[in-house]
């Protein structure tokens, strides 16, 4: 029998593996994942369901696609106690999530943020909010609007007034 540490998202079949209970999660687009309860309870939302005995049937994970949910499960697997040998190795692995180099990375981080928020996964939320903050740093207003596709709904007068109200922030 494989140990708890080797079970992953592709496990299927019984709802238990050895003495480890498996939970069934279903993404918004219908993909089904079986995940060890000990791993999935890194989500505060799922832990609450388990504690309240509400995790006996398939758990729908709304607003999260199968692609994103697979990434979330990969995150859980890596953050399971004992999954990686040391903190440095974990940080190195996490670094693929904590930088946003282009708009494709950006969209992945958005998806993960929504999932981390819905499932309440503090470690993933921390990593993704940090990635977005890093992407904001050092950008001018126009650069931010371009990178994040933000369309201003202020007219020139309103924007000037806001800049004036917060003058020091804009002159440094």
């Amino acid at each position: 029998m494989s140990t708890a540490a080797t079970a992953d998202a592709s496990s299927s079949g019984d709802t238990t593996e050895g003495s480890v209970r498996l939970l069934t999660l279903q993404s918004e687009d219908g993909e089904v994942f079986e995940v060890k309860e000990t791993i999935a309870t890194q989500s505060v939302t799922i832990k609450g369901m388990v504690d309240d005995d509400c995790a006996t049937s398939t758990i729908p994970v709304c607003n999260v696609t199968g692609r994103t949910l697979a990434m979330v499960i990969e995150w859980w697997n890596k953050h399971e106690i004992g999954a990686v040998s040391n903190e440095k190795e974990l940080k190195e692995w996490e670094s693929q999530f904590d930088t946003i180099d282009d708009k494709s990375d950006r969209d992945d981080v958005y998806d993960l943020l929504m999932a981390a928020n819905y499932l309440n996964i503090p470690t993933l939320l921390d990593c993704c909010t940090s990635a977005v903050a890093e992407a904001i740093k050092g950008k001018s207003t126009d650069e931010m609007r371009e990178f994040f596709d933000i369309k201003s709904d202020f007219d020139e007068k309103e924007e000037d007034a806001l800049r004036k109200e917060n003058q020091w922030a804009f002159e440094n």
């Binding site: 207003t141 369309k151 020091w168």
Partner: protein, 122 residues
């Protein structure tokens, strides 16, 4: 707030503006306060988000030239509009060379204490 205009702004590809307030505030709280406040001009969705910051980091880079009145006004303004009751991290870096400057700094520190600051760095 003009909801029609706001709706127009958050449809389309502007996904970041559709994130919930608490996530956006978490993102902004990871920035220097001046960078967080600068996002107020992006669109009306961002106009007041910075008033919910729970980390406040003020750094007067040009302090060697003497503290600028604008820096003082900025800190005063941010603190007066701050809606967060529990400040987690308050960092302040500026000169205090005379009683006048000190008289400004003391209320800032009192503010941090009143707002239950957990980490204070001066």
């Amino acid at each position: 707030m003009d909801f029609e205009r706001l709706g127009e702004c958050i449809r389309g590809r502007d996904i970041i503006s559709r994130l919930p307030d608490d996530i956006l505030v978490q993102i902004l709280s990871r920035l220097e306060t001046k960078d967080a406040v600068k996002t107020c001009v992006l669109s009306s969705r961002w106009k007041n988000l910075w008033t919910f910051l729970y980390n406040l980091h003020f750094d007067d880079y040009d302090y060697k030239l003497g503290r600028s009145r604008n820096f003082e006004n900025f800190v005063d303004r941010v603190l007066s509009l701050c809606q967060c009751k529990y400040i987690q991290d308050f960092r302040l870096s500026c000169s205090v060379i005379d009683d006048d400057e000190l008289s400004h700094v003391i209320p800032w520190l009192c503010f941090a204490v009143e707002r239950n600051v957990r980490k204070l760095n001066i």
